[in-house]
C-alpha cells in the first residue's frame, strides 16, 4: 500500500533516511519543532532549517487509554476496537525534547531514560487508498 505523510512539513518523506524537520535560531542556537520563523527564547526572527537527531532518550511518557474525539483525531477511535497508544517526549541531546507518538503502549515496557529512535506508524487509510503515516519513536532493542 502506498504511504503518505500526515503533514509533509514534519519529517522527510518519502525518504531512505527518516529525519524530523526542525528549525534553529541563528541568533541564539535554540532548536524548534516543527519549523517556525520566530524564536520564543530570544524573541528574534531569523531561523534556519535543520534536520533533528534520530536518536534520544525517553524524558517522560503516558498511555492514551481512551479514544480521542474525532475530529480532530483521524486514527482508529471506535471505543469497541480502540487500542491504547503511547505518547512521550524524547530528549535529543543538545537540541530539544520532541513530543511524539510511541510504538509501545504498555507501562511495563517504558522507562524514563531508555534509548529511543525515530520511526513511523500508520494512522489510517485515506480515500485514495494510501496509508497515512506519522512520526513516532521506538525503543532501541
Amino acid at each position: 500500500m502506498p504511504q503518505v505523510s500526515v503533514d509533509e512539513t514534519l519529517f522527510t518523506w518519502p525518504s531512505d533516511e527518516l529525519r524530523l524537520l526542525g528549525s534553529r535560531c541563528i541568533d541564539c542556537a535554540n532548536h524548534m519543532f516543527p519549523r517556525q520563523d520566530d524564536c520564543p527564547k530570544c524573541a528574534g526572527n531569523s531561523t534556519e532549517d535543520v534536520e533533528l537527531d534520530t536518536k534520544g532518550t525517553l524524558w517522560t511518557w503516558t498511555i492514551q487509554g481512551y479514544p480521542p474525539k474525532a475530529p480532530p483525531y483521524v486514527g482508529p477511535s471506535d471505543p469497541k476496537t480502540f487500542e491504547p497508544y503511547g505518547v512521550g517526549y524524547i530528549e535529543l541531546d543538545g537540541q530539544l525534547k520532541v513530543e511524539t507518538r510511541l510504538t509501545i503502549n504498555t507501562p511495563e515496557e517504558l522507562q524514563i531514560g531508555m534509548e529511543m529512535q525515530l520511526t513511523t506508524i500508520p494512522l489510517y487509510t485515506n480515500d485514495d487508498g494510501d496509508e497515512v503515516v506519522t512520526f513516532a519513536f521506538e525503543p532501541i532493542n
Binding site: W61, T62, Q64, G65, Y66, P72, V87
Partner: protein, 383 residues
C-alpha cells in the same frame, strides 16, 4: 483602616455545578442575582461588569435579562484563567479609581468528555490533533509521571488526594460529584492517561459564580463581613517551562507560570505561604494538586508525600486544600472555575461553610488556577 484603592468582596453567588438542563448563560444570570442578593444591592447599582466564558456565549448578552442599565460590560476569555482574569480586571478597575462598585461573573457549560481542541485556533497545526496528541489529559499524565520519578510521589498518594476531594465534595451542596470514593476506588478506576485513572481527573462541567466587589472604604455600606482582596495576579509561561500542548520542550528547565504568579501575589499581599490558612489549588487531576502545593510555595518538592499521609491538607489539617472538593468534585466549567475557588474562600473566611467549615477562625485564604496554554492566576483574600 481600608484605603480607597483597596478592594473588598461584599457579595457572592454560585449555582449548582451538577449537570442540569440549564444553559451556561442561565448559570451566569442566576449567579449574578444571588451575588446581588448577598450584598443587598441591585443590578442598577452595578457600575461595571466583567464576564468570563469559554464556551457558553458572550457574557455581555446577559444584560438583556438582568436589565439594560447602560453599564460598562467587558467580556473576558483567557483560557483556564478566564474567571480569574475577569476578577483581575474588576479589581484593577476599582484600584484605578474608575468605579466604586461592580461585578465579576464567570460561567460555562461544556459537552461531556474531554475537551475537544481546535488545534488551528490554538496555533498548533492540524496534524497535532489528527495524530492524537492534542489532549490535555496526556500533558497531565506526562508531567506527573516525570514528577513522581523525580520526587518519589507514590500512587497511594494520588489515591488519597482523590478520596479527599470526593469526601469534601460530599459536604458541598453545590458540588457535581457528591458520592464519597475510597482511595482504592480512585486507584482502581479505568486508566485514562497513565498514571492517572478516571476518578483522578476532573471533567469539563457546568456552573456559574459571581462576585460583587467594591472600594474597601465603602464595604461596610454593603456588609458586616467584607473580605479583602489583597492580591490578584495573572501570568503566562516563560521560555523553558513544561506546558500543555508543547510540541517540543527546551533542553533547559524553567519553573512554570504558577511559580511566577504565586511569588508575585505573595509580594503584592506582603505575606508569605506560611501565613496562609486555607488554599484552593488547581486540581485538574490529583497530581496537579500535589505539584501545585510545591509550585505555590507551600512545601518543598517531594514533601507532599509526607504531608498528605499525615492528613495535613484535610479540612482538619494544618493547611486545608480544596475544601469544596475542588475541580475533581465540582467539574471544570472554565469560565466559573477560578471564581468558585474565591467563592469558597469567602465562605470559609466568613465562617459560613457549614459542614466543611475549617476550624481555628481562618484569616488568610489563597486561590490558584492553572491551565491552557500555560497560564496561571492567583488571589489572596483576608479578613
Amino acid at each position: 483602616m481600608a484605603k480607597s484603592d483597596d478592594v473588598a468582596i461584599v457579595g457572592i453567588g454560585i449555582t449548582s455545578f451538577a449537570r442540569s438542563e440549564k444553559s451556561g448563560m442561565d448559570h451566569g444570570v442566576d449567579a449574578v442575582r444571588k451575588a446581588l442578593a448577598d450584598s443587598g444591592t441591585t443590578w442598577q447599582d452595578m457600575q461595571f461588569a466583567f464576564g468570563g466564558s469559554a464556551a457558553a456565549g458572550a457574557p455581555d448578552t446577559m444584560v438583556s435579562r438582568l436589565g439594560l442599565t447602560g453599564l460598562q460590560f467587558i467580556n473576558v476569555a483567557n483560557g483556564c484563567a478566564t474567571g480569574g482574569s475577569a476578577l483581575f480586571s474588576a479589581v484593577n478597575s476599582i484600584k484605578a479609581g474608575m468605579y466604586d462598585v461592580g461585578i465579576a461573573v464567570g460561567f460555562d457549560k461544556h459537552e461531556p468528555g474531554a475537551f475537544r481542541v481546535d488545534t488551528r485556533k490554538g496555533g498548533l497545526g492540524q496534524w497535532y490533533g489528527e495524530t492524537g496528541m492534542a489532549l490535555t489529559t496526556q500533558f497531565f499524565g506526562m508531567k506527573l509521571n516525570r514528577y513522581m520519578h523525580d520526587y518519589g510521589i507514590t500512587e497511594d498518594t494520588l489515591g488519597k488526594v482523590g478520596e479527599k476531594a470526593f469526601r469534601n465534595g460530599s459536604m458541598n451542596e453545590n458540588a457535581w460529584r457528591r458520592k464519597p470514593l475510597s482511595e482504592a476506588q480512585v486507584k482502581e478506576s479505568a486508566m485514562l492517561s497513565y498514571p492517572l485513572t478516571q476518578y483522578m481527573f476532573c471533567s469539563p462541567g457546568e456552573g456559574g459564580v459571581a462576585l460583587v466587589l467594591c472600594r474597601a472604604d465603602k464595604a461596610h455600606e454593603y456588609t458586616d463581613t467584607p473580605i479583602m482582596l489583597n492580591a490578584a495576579v495573572v501570568r503566562s509561561r516563560r521560555f523553558g517551562s513544561f506546558e500543555v500542548f508543547s510540541r517540543h520542550l527546551a533542553p533547559e528547565f524553567t519553573e512554570g507560570p504558577t511559580v511566577d504568579t504565586s511569588k508575585a501575589a505573595f509580594e503584592m499581599a506582603g505575606i508569605g505561604p506560611e501565613d496562609v490558612d486555607i488554599a484552593q489549588l488547581q486540581d485538574t487531576e490529583v497530581g496537579a494538586e500535589i505539584m501545585h502545593m510545591a509550585e505555590n510555595g507551600f512545601c518543598e518538592h517531594g514533601d507532599q508525600e509526607r504531608m498528605i499521609a499525615m492528613g495535613e491538607t484535610e479540612i482538619t489539617g494544618r493547611l486545608p486544600v480544596n475544601t469544596d472538593g475542588g475541580c475533581l468534585a465540582n467539574g471544570e466549567p472554565i469560565g466559573a472555575s477560578g471564581l468558585r475557588q474565591v467563592y469558597e474562600n469567602v465562605l470559609q473566611l466568613r465562617g459560613q461553610a457549614g459542614q466543611r467549615q475549617v476550624g481555628g477562625d481562618p484569616k488568610v485564604a489563597y486561590t490558584h488556577v492553572y491551565g491552557a496554554p500555560g497560564i496561571s492566576g492567583v488571589t489572596i483574600l483576608s479578613k
